[in-house]
């Protein structure tokens, strides 16, 4: 029994520590499909979301305010001016490899820019766009 518990904990911590963008897309897509059966992530919807002006915040009306028009480019924080590495995994390999970090930044940036939490469907679309979109 302790051995089983240990293995279960090991598996759980490994899942929390390391991930791939594809695993995150799959997890968010599965969560979205539980809400609306048949959900399939779409890079096109992700691209629209990325480019959309939510205009909730004056200084950060859209994702592009800090991350630029192209997520494969380096960006810059709209308020502090701090350099931001590209958001797209194809340009910055460390992106979307830590599930806790991904959740943290969705939580912060969605409330700031979108004005609410993002849905699992939006997150799946978003990451899919970043892995394959332009």
């Amino acid at each position: 029994m302790p051995k089983v518990l240990f293995l279960a904990l090991l598996a759980a911590s490994a899942a929390a520590a390391a991930a791939t963008p594809q695993e995150m897309i799959n997890e968010y897509a599965a969560a979205a499909a539980r809400q609306s059966p048949g959900f399939q992530p779409s890079a096109k919807r992700g691209a629209e979301f990325y480019a959309k002006r939510f205009a909730v915040s004056d200084k950060m009306p859209a994702c592009t305010s800090c991350h630029t028009e192209s997520p494969a480019q380096a960006g810059r924080h709209a308020v502090t001016g701090k350099a931001i590495k590209p958001l797209a995994p194809r340009a910055e390999a460390a992106r979307f490899t830590d599930a806790a970090k991904t959740e943290k930044w969705f939580r912060r940036n969605c409330s700031e820019v979108v004005g609410r939490e993002c849905t699992a469907a939006e997150k799946a679309d978003f990451i899919l766009f970043l892995t394959e979109g332009k």
């Binding site: 200084k59 810059r76 924080h77 709209a78 308020v79 502090t80 001016g81 701090k82 350099a83 930044w105 912060r108 409330s111 700031e112």
Partner: protein
């Protein structure tokens, strides 16, 4: 008495510029310091604000200069303890305003008195808190004059 006083004064005079050159991040910084504080801005050297000012900053993270930078209580506490432990003891770092801004202290304003307004307004600078816009080795805690490159003006002379 006189012989003692002269070396002390000399030491004080030479100590000041050296102190401004190096503002290292203390080695015992918790990993959350770079991850949380450094997520949106340069993780500022704790020695740039006094302890009461750091406490005030950390008590109002939900209203953090126009941003909601809330943290879980464990992380918040850990960062506050770290900042307070290494806070400025120098009186010139006080008077940073309400909310406290390290760019408003007497010390900061004096150190930057030669910087023209156009530089502060430059799109590449954006904010007086964007240390790395001119201090090319700010990330490493180094602020030496010869490392300064001002957008639009070039190297510090």
């Amino acid at each position: 008495m006189r012989t003692l006083l002269i070396p002390i004064c000399a030491a004080a005079v030479f100590a000041l510029p050296a102190q401004a050159d190096r503002l290292p991040i203390p080695a015992n910084a918790p990993p959350s310091f770079a991850a949380e504080c450094g997520g949106c801005h340069l993780p500022f050297p704790p020695a740039l604000l006094t302890a009461p000012d750091w406490k005030q900053v950390m008590a109002r993270l939900d209203k953090h200069y126009g941003d909601n930078a809330s943290l879980d209580e464990k992380t918040r506490r850990e960062l506050e303890d770290f900042l307070v432990r290494h806070a400025a003891t120098d009186r010139r770092k006080a008077g940073a305003g309400d909310p406290p801004r390290l760019t408003e202290s007497v010390w900061f304003r004096r150190e930057h008195r030669e910087v023209p307004q156009a530089v502060w307004n430059d799109a590449r600078v954006k904010s007086a808190a964007n240390c790395a816009a001119c201090h090319t080795r700010a990330e490493a805690g180094s602020y030496r004059e010869r490392e300064i490159v001002v957008p639009g003006l070039g190297r510090h002379k």
